[in-house]
Symmetry: C2
Subunit: 380 residues, 2 copies
């Protein structure tokens, strides 16, 4: 089911399959947009929830939108804000959908009320109350001005039971329908709207949701909600959804970015992925690497003292600034010395790694060697 | 006394007067050496004390020296390690020599013993004991491989009395003499040694020290130790030392980097300056600016809420990446959102500002307009 495509936007094309880098609060953590561009990245996303609270959508609009404010003239995506409202509201949804078990639930609860109208939440910055509804989400995303935008939905928690998942999915469909209506009211042809497929791990619910989105006038489809409690369940759920989804439209898998997870996603027809994983990993000392060269491990940890005297680059086959110019020992030193530059250099490496990974995937589809490459990257 | 010169090193020239950026632990805080190079910076320094403890001089040497490890092929300077041994040992010397009064003295004392031989101190990293002597300082600086290196001295504290200042100065002279002897033993013509002029705020002591350095075979002279308790006393002390110093050799003023302080220093014959001020200020939200355009203020604070909706660049006449591409409102947002990128972008601006400031100073000397420019930049 792996497929090679191109998404055209007013800010250029996105070759798919591709990975979307997270500029959550309007900044790739530790990287300028100019530096990210040197890695070959084609698209970034920002989060509506964060930006509507700080600096506020109107201030972004004063700049002429996110592209201008961030000085990024390539494609951008914004989410609807729904994920964070519910994630920060309940605490730990992100951990759940990825199958991490021992997630922390220390997050303070900021979600005040969820009604048919939308969600009332408290700003994590100053405690002020805000409504996020399908209409306000689209209005904010209009001001942010990303090329690809998302309908407003509820991200159902993994431990939600079938009954709540079904109830929430139905309401999300009504919210998505209202999102689409609001979108059409102000459609200027410069933004494209994705519907979200909910339904948790339940095949019958996913089928209903996939049908709802397929029968609505969305440009693309994003897979949201819980994908299960383990990595293998996540892969199975994506495979199951793949059987139900409309393959005539672009498909985005929300919040997934592990190397093997991406290979499994592409195998099941996913076009685009996003995740903070590559950039977050970098700030903690992790450099992405080919698992088949590292006993199945997806990264090496530069904090490890085995790199203290290692004057070779992180990856001698990598053409990123970090690998061309600096040694493992130097990066190790920067982390030991708590120098921000360590995380910055690894972020460049990890971004370049993801760009090259997606190039490898696309080439393998073009060359019809995907099955071989998939096995090489995922079976150990 | 302002003078325009050129220092030649194996890694290229330094146009003087010039400013030396601090890569204290082998990294410009928050900036890659490639980014710093784009600002036009000609020279950086690293600190022997920090690097000998982490990663260790031998690991730097394994890379082929600091230039290779940091990927910086322009001139470099290292200090002797003496400043930090005594600064971190007593706590707060840096604050004193700059005339800041209410400095904190919370630093744990790491200096264990000072003898004629040198200083015994405890590593702030792992508690291990280390001797720093004139000989070990030069040996470490040989391994680090900077173009300009410094003799080992004691940085006398401001509140040291005349008697201790004199005693310490004499011992520093004996240490500098031993530094020079050690330097000559291994002289390969690729490094140049600076002697340090001590003597605190006492003219007769400074005269003795200036004569000692002038009569020794140092390449250059650095002004160290206490310059007084206030900014104006600092300017007076530099002026006083200027009367005593040998003007046939390069003169470096240690640890000073304020805008007006630099103008006063150049007026008194200083060739080079170094300070963490521009880069540290940036990480706290301060963008350097021309004082004559800002009521005598040397920086604007981007944390200030007055920049919340300010879509103009920090300085529309500045050609740095930050000013060409981003608004004050965006930088303000990055600081509010605690995004590292805010400090990174301001560091680029402040580095470029310092480079342009030094260009302005050099040009004013060449054009014989120094007096006018000095007045414009220092009198409000």
């Amino acid at each position: 089911m792996a497929r090679r495509g191109v998404l055209s936007t007013p800010h250029g094309i996105i070759n798919t399959p591709n990975f979307i880098f997270c500029a959550t609060k309007g900044a790739i953590k530790s990287l300028s947009t100019a530096e990210l561009a040197t890695t070959g990245a084609e698209i970034v996303l920002s989060n509506t929830y964060h930006l509507m609270l700080q600096p506020g959508a109107d201030i972004v609009a004063m700049h002429g939108g996110l592209h201008k404010m961030l000085n990024w003239d390539k494609p951008m995506l914004t989410d609807s804000g729904g994920f964070q409202v519910f994630s920060l509201g309940h605490g730990g949804v992100a951990n759940e959908i990825k199958g991490r078990r021992n997630f922390s639930s220390h997050c303070s609860r900021t979600l005040l009320k969820v009604t048919e109208e939308g969600a009332l939440f408290r700003s994590y910055i100053d405690g002020t109350k805000h409504w996020l509804t399908p209409e306000t989400s689209i209005q904010v995303q209009r001001k942010l001005g990303a090329d690809l935008i998302l309908a407003f939905d509820e991200c159902t928690q993994f431990h939600a039971d079938r009954r709540y998942t079904a109830f929430s999915m139905d309401r999300s469909h009504r919210w998505e329908f209202r999102s689409l209506a609001e979108f059409k009211k102000s459609d200027h042809g410069k933004q494209a709207l994705y519907g979200i497929i909910q339904g948790g791990v339940y095949e019958d619910l996913r089928r209903v949701s996939a049908d709802f989105v397929a029968n609505s006038d969305f440009f693309g489809q994003a897979i949201g909600g819980s994908l299960g409690g383990t990595k293998s369940q996540m892969h199975e759920t994506v495979e199951m959804i793949n059987q139900l989804i409309d393959h005539t439209r672009p498909i985005h898998l929300l919040g997934i970015g592990g190397i093997t997870d991406i290979w499994h996603g592409v195998k099941n027809g996913i076009d685009t992925f996003d995740c903070v994983y590559p950039t977050r990993l970098a700030r903690h000392g992790g450099a992405l690497c080919a698992p088949f060269l590292h006993g199945g491990k997806e990264f090496i940890n530069l904090n490890n003292s085995c790199y203290r005297e290692d004057i070779f680059p992180i990856d001698s086959t990598c053409d990123c600034y970090c690998c061309r110019k600096f040694s493992r020992a130097y990066i190790h030193h920067l982390f030991k010395a708590k120098e921000m530059l360590g995380g910055q250099l690894l972020t460049i490496h990890n971004a370049r790694f993801m760009v090259r990974l997606m190039e490898t995937i696309r080439r393998s589809i073009e060359n019809e060697t995907f099955r071989n490459e998939f096995n090489k990257w995922t079976i150990f």
